[in-house]
């Protein structure tokens, strides 16, 4: 092993590699413990979740998921016995705690709101971003640097500072607590990321392709459509996922500007309570369902991650 890498005098020694590997693996394992704990808690029963010492081995149960999707009312044992046989696992579990399912909880509508708002705003931001990025990349736009900086500067505002006038504006326009209002707002926030990232991606596509297409008789617009867009697909997809993740994770605007019909999952999940405080298994279940899409995206994105988180400043 050490002989095969000996061509480089500066390659780290096998020993230093081993130590480095051990430290990194230890850090990685410790840092994902909180996430594993979320996953484990989602399969605990409420008593197991608050046991002391914390239970690492436990009998898995989907009670947390049952509680996440339903609302329940406490009933007397006589009343519960008078009911017919339980209609499902959740029904059965809930009855054991002297409760009956009263109806669906708000989790599903909130989760759907998150989907609609995240995908809607991502589509708009990437659409606008692609056009602007192409404009800035290929044409001499007067004051281009100032405009690009202006687009970015909107990110310097603390979200609460933006939320104050937006709150008043939306109240006047009737956009408070609507999906449209949230889509517009998230689009405005995300478009700065989209423009900066996509400009980097489009800058990397050689102009020769378009010039060639235009010499062949395409108009500029056709050349953009037929040559630039297909080559920018990877960049557009990566940008879209970054926008999606931002909109999906966003909390401050959602918490201040939505309260009911348009509320997304992040402000909703912390409000899940059971009897006597936070229902941690249900919260963990909601958190798990909420986090899984992001985990998938992170793995898909790992090659573009650096670029995305630095607004294209570091490309590697």
């Amino acid at each position: 092993m050490s002989l095969t890498t000996a061509h480089s005098v500066v390659a780290p020694s096998a020993n230093s590699k081993r130590i480095a590997g051990a430290i990194i693996i230890a850090y990685a394992l410790i840092s994902i413990v909180p996430l594993l704990w979320i996953f484990a808690t989602s399969f605990k029963t409420p008593p197991d979740s608050i046991a002391y010492p914390p239970k690492i081995v436990f009998q898995p149960s989907i009670e947390g998921y049952c509680n996440l999707f339903t609302t329940r009312t406490r009933q007397t044992p006589e009343y519960i016995n008078s009911l017919g046989p339980a209609t499902g696992f959740c029904d059965e579990t809930v009855r054991k705690r002297n409760m009956v399912i009263a109806g669906p909880s708000n989790f599903l509508p909130r989760f759907l709101n998150s989907l609609i708002i995240a995908f809607g705003s991502t589509f708009c931001a990437v659409f606008l971003g692609t056009l602007s990025a192409y404009g800035f990349s290929r044409f001499k736009v007067p004051l281009a640097d100032d405009l690009l900086f202006f687009i970015l500067s909107t990110r310097f505002m603390p979200p609460i500072a933006v939320a104050i006038p937006i709150y008043l504006m939306y109240r006047e326009l009737g956009l408070s607590d609507t999906a449209l209002g949230m889509i517009l707002l998230y689009t405005a926030v995300n478009v700065s990321l989209a423009v900066w990232l996509l400009k980097g991606f489009i800058d990397e596509i050689p102009r020769e392709y378009e010039e060639a297409a235009m010499i062949d008789g395409y108009t500029r617009l056709q050349a953009f459509w037929r040559t630039v867009l297909p080559q920018a697909t990877t960049g557009i997809a990566a940008t879209a996922i970054f926008c999606l993740i931002f909109a999906w994770n966003e909390y401050a605007f959602a918490a201040l500007l939505t309260s009911g019909t348009a509320q997304t999952a992040p402000p909703f999940i912390p409000t899940i309570i059971g009897e006597g405080g936070q229902d941690w298994p249900a919260v963990a279940a909601g958190t798990t369902i909420f986090l899984v899409p992001i985990l998938v995206f992170t793995i898909l994105l790992r090659k573009q991650l650096l670029r995305g988180i630095t607004f294209g400043a570091v490309r590697k």
């Binding site: 840092s31 413990v33 603390p158 609460i160 991650l305």
Partner: protein, 315 residues
């Protein structure tokens, strides 16, 4: 390289060839492409910003929209700059920003430096380390409240197990001196990977021949680290600090869910004060003035910092 060639070709192409007569002119197309974005930002960012500037000179309260709005001049600004609570909030923010950035930079750079050894399986473990930063700070921050619960919380349990302190007395969120650290720990856990990733890019940008030359000159490993590795990775480290600094100066979601600014106001960072003033006390004019001050502060500090960053880059 390829880009430059392409640009040269484009420049050498005669104008009439590059510009097609039919269809929209390039200039028209450029504006057609850019203006929707600019219009959206004008409507959702700039118009509200000017509205906030206007409000900051008034005593407007959003919960009493029908009351007569009085023009106060600079009174709101004067009151903020003389307000003890605002200064305490700024100090809390500074404390939070300082410690999170220090810890994240130290740990993040060390991790990157170790990963750069390219041990077997490093790509997999790097991806695993990156996971926390992609998650929602609000949703994950909310769950950390459970980990911090005295006794039943995993964090408190592990700390008491290791240190021998009785588990009931580890009150991370309700103890005045521990609460600021509880938010620093979560932020460091979440965002160290971010700094690590940028530092890793910096380390990988250092060409190997520089180390080879140093080796020929018999520079010690220690010497190589201080005169090659660190200076050449510095622009990247500074970039990571810039991004984290701006983000943590604005920090709201994670702190709001973990401590809500409490106990008392020990973890009340600027954004929490802003929220309390604007959406709980409904002092819209006053909080707008505070928002403008914060915006100018971030913008000004970031500008000065970027100038320093460019100087380091040019060296």
């Amino acid at each position: 390289m390829l880009n430059r060639t392409a640009e040269n070709v484009a420049r050498a192409t005669p104008e009439p060839l590059a510009r097609k007569v039919r269809g929209i002119s390039d200039k028209g197309l450029a504006w057609l492409f850019i203006s929707p974005t600019i219009l959206l930002l004008l409507a959702i960012n700039i118009f509200p910003l000017f509205w906030a500037i206007y409000l900051s000179f008034t005593n407007f309260r959003a919960n009493r929209p029908n009351e007569v709005v009085k023009n106060l001049g600079f009174a709101n600004y004067q009151r903020i700059l003389g307000d003890q609570d605002i200064w305490i909030a700024m100090q809390t923010t500074a404390h939070f920003v300082f410690w999170t950035i220090l810890l994240q930079t130290l740990i993040g750079f060390t991790l990157a430096w170790l990963i750069d050894r390219k041990f077997r399986g490093h790509a997999f473990w790097t991806t695993l380390i990156l996971v926390p930063m992609m998650l929602s700070p609000a949703v994950v921050g909310n769950f950390w409240r459970f980990l911090y619960e005295p006794q039943i919380g995993l964090f408190s349990y592990v700390i008491s197990f290791v240190s021998g302190i009785p588990p009931t007395s580890i009150q991370m969120l309700s103890n005045v001196s521990l609460a600021p650290w509880s938010i620093i720990i979560v932020d460091t856990w979440m965002w160290t990977p971010y700094v690590m990733l940028i530092c890793l890019a910096g380390l990988r940008s250092i060409p190997e021949y520089i180390y080879e030359a140093a080796e020929v000159d018999r520079a010690s490993n220690w010497r190589q680290f201080w005169s090659i590795t660190l200076p050449m990775a510095l622009p990247f480290i500074m970039l990571a600090v810039l991004f984290r600094g701006i983000e943590n100066f604005k920090m709201f979601d994670m702190v709001n869910l973990l401590t809500g600014g409490g106990p008392g106001s020990t973890t009340e960072v600027a954004s929490i004060t802003l929220k309390r003033q604007a959406f709980e006390s409904w002092r819209t004019g006053y909080s707008s003035a505070f928002a403008i001050i914060l915006f100018v502060a971030v913008f000004g500090l970031a500008n000065i910092y970027v100038k320093a960053l460019n100087k380091v880059k040019q060296r």
